[in-house]
Subunit: 154 residues, 2 copies
Amino acid sequence: MSTEASREKFKAYLADKGLRVTNQRLAIFDAAFAQTEHFTAEELLVHARALDESVSRATVYRTLPIMTESALLREIDIGKNIKFYAPGRGNLTQQAQVICLDCDKIFEINAPFMEWYGSTVSSKLGLTPVSQRLQVSAHCNAFQTTGRCPHRNN
Amino acid sequence: MSTEASREKFKAYLADKGLRVTNQRLAIFDAAFAQTEHFTAEELLVHARALDESVSRATVYRTLPIMTESALLREIDIGKNIKFYAPGRGNLTQQAQVICLDCDKIFEINAPFMEWYGSTVSSKLGLTPVSQRLQVSAHCNAFQTTGRCPHRNN
DNA sequence: CTGCCTGCAAACTCTTTGCACGAAT
DNA sequence: ATTCGTGCAAAGAGTTTGCAGGCAG
């Protein structure tokens, strides 16, 4: 799905929920979809402000749940008391993350069996799966030998 | 492994690392291993204080990393800005959690393929897996129909 | 017009840390 | 005796919220 199509979907979602289409919400959307890497709420604030100076931290935090509920954004919790976000692309319940502990880079990988596993196991417990995530934390081999992490870009 | 054996292992770990065996650390250990459910740092503080009034919040937070590093405790992050802990039993990299969104209960389930998956995928990226977690968030069917969650015990 | 949205700043939650005292080795 | 561990309270990080004014519908 193109960014433009996602943008329309966002507006439609807002309208459908009786929420208003404000400049701030659109700036936050645009900033999010301009990212090439996973980002934090704080980073999103900076980029959204570049598009619309009036965007506040509060509005970013109030808009993020709207975008994740509409499945336009995925929330990725790597267990560091800080949440990362990324545009939702493809089937959200079939992707796993591999996190490099040396450079904090997050790799997205396919894990088609996840969905099957979640439903199998949940149905045994009388539960209906809502979301699932598989995360692998790993050290970078190159970092161990060279002292530099080849993924690091900052 | 019995609690008593784990207690000895804890003391041995402390000695090995040149750390001191204090009453507070032992009280925190005992409180942790007396739990039947997953617990938070705050809950652990309450229970540890019941065993030794002098235990402070700071010491709980300083002791938890020691117990997780020694693999006596597992840290379980369910993406709620709050960490849960549980005594480490069995192979830590082959267990998944199913979290009931209605009652917050955490079910531990086996997922023997996780380890294989983590190493397979990581080796392709030149990484060495350290830990992995698979978490399924789900709604309770009984809660949907009866309005009460049968797992809830509080 | 009406009422949802907004920015601001204060509040909140969980966790970490500086300091001087106290206890383990 | 040393030196590490401790409690206390303050600081920190990330996120949420109350309020008065602003803008979408």
